[in-house]
Amino acid sequence: MKKVLVACGNGIATSTIAAVKIREACEEKKIPVAITQCKILEVPSKAEDYDLIVTTGKFQDPSIKIPIFSAISLLTGIGAKESIEKITDFLSK
């Protein structure tokens, strides 16, 4: 089972929305997944325990070797379908 770290500014509200959307999409496609929420500031110290990082805010850290996807579309709805497909594709591999 893949592990996803969902991060937003202070680890509340927007990461909850992103986590719910990812969880629902994975349930629908029967992809087992474990989702954890955190603050963006905590990502560098936690990243190595996860397979994928999803953030609602801007986040770049060249020292992190696992993929980082943006989840802003899950909030705005613009491009949400594509984002969810990208995430579930990655998690099903």
């Binding site: 937003c8 500014g9 202070n10 680890g11 509340i12 509200a13 927007t14 909850t16 929305i17 719910v20 959307k21 929420q37 963006i40 609602t56 805010g57 801007k58 943006s70 802003i72 899950l74 909030l75 705005t76 709805g77 613009i78 949400a80």
Partner: protein, 152 residues
């Protein structure tokens, strides 16, 4: 889990704020008045907006979804401000980019990872341009409440 109730009184229309700081202070001030948040929540919202902006480009009618430290919240609430003229916010996805915001949905949540139902409904609302447009055109807070109560 604590249920969040939105009433027509939690909707403020015809706001004439010129800056995001003004609208954030105004809306948070209303929550302080109602003792639903501690007075430090006002500064926490302003600080948080600087550090991690909450403007969301959702289309012609764009929104902001400010929120801050759950430990300063006494009673979970959602308060909505509709601006007469859009106010510039920085975007959540890229703080260097700006977005003209017409509707501010300010969250005061007590449970950091909970409230999933209400957050889903807020998301449904902000993804619906038709409803947002109606909100900006509504003549009264009751009309707006009529629109948003379909979501909450």
């Amino acid at each position: 889990m604590e249920k969040i109730v939105i009433t027509p009184e939690d909707v403020y229309i015809h706001l004439k704020c010129k800056t995001r700081e003004e609208v954030l202070s105004f809306l948070t001030g209303r929550l302080v008045e109602g003792k639903r948040v501690q007075k430090e929540y006002v500064q926490a919202i302003l600080d948080r907006e600087r550090q991690y902006p909450t403007g969301l480009y959702t289309g012609d009618i764009s929104v902001a979804m400010p929120h801050a430290d759950y430990r300063l919240v006494n009673e979970s609430a959602i308060i909505i401000g509709v601006l007469d003229a859009p106010v510039t916010f920085r975007q959540m996805s890229d703080p260097d980019a700006e977005v003209a915001v017409s509707v501010v949905i300010l969250l005061a949540l007590k449970d950091p990872h909970g409230h999933t139902d209400v957050l889903k409904r807020v998301t449904d609302l902000i993804q619906e341009q038709g409803a947002l447009k109606k909100i900006t055109e509504a003549a009264s807070r009751k009309d707006i409440y009529g629109i948003i109560s379909k979501y909450f």
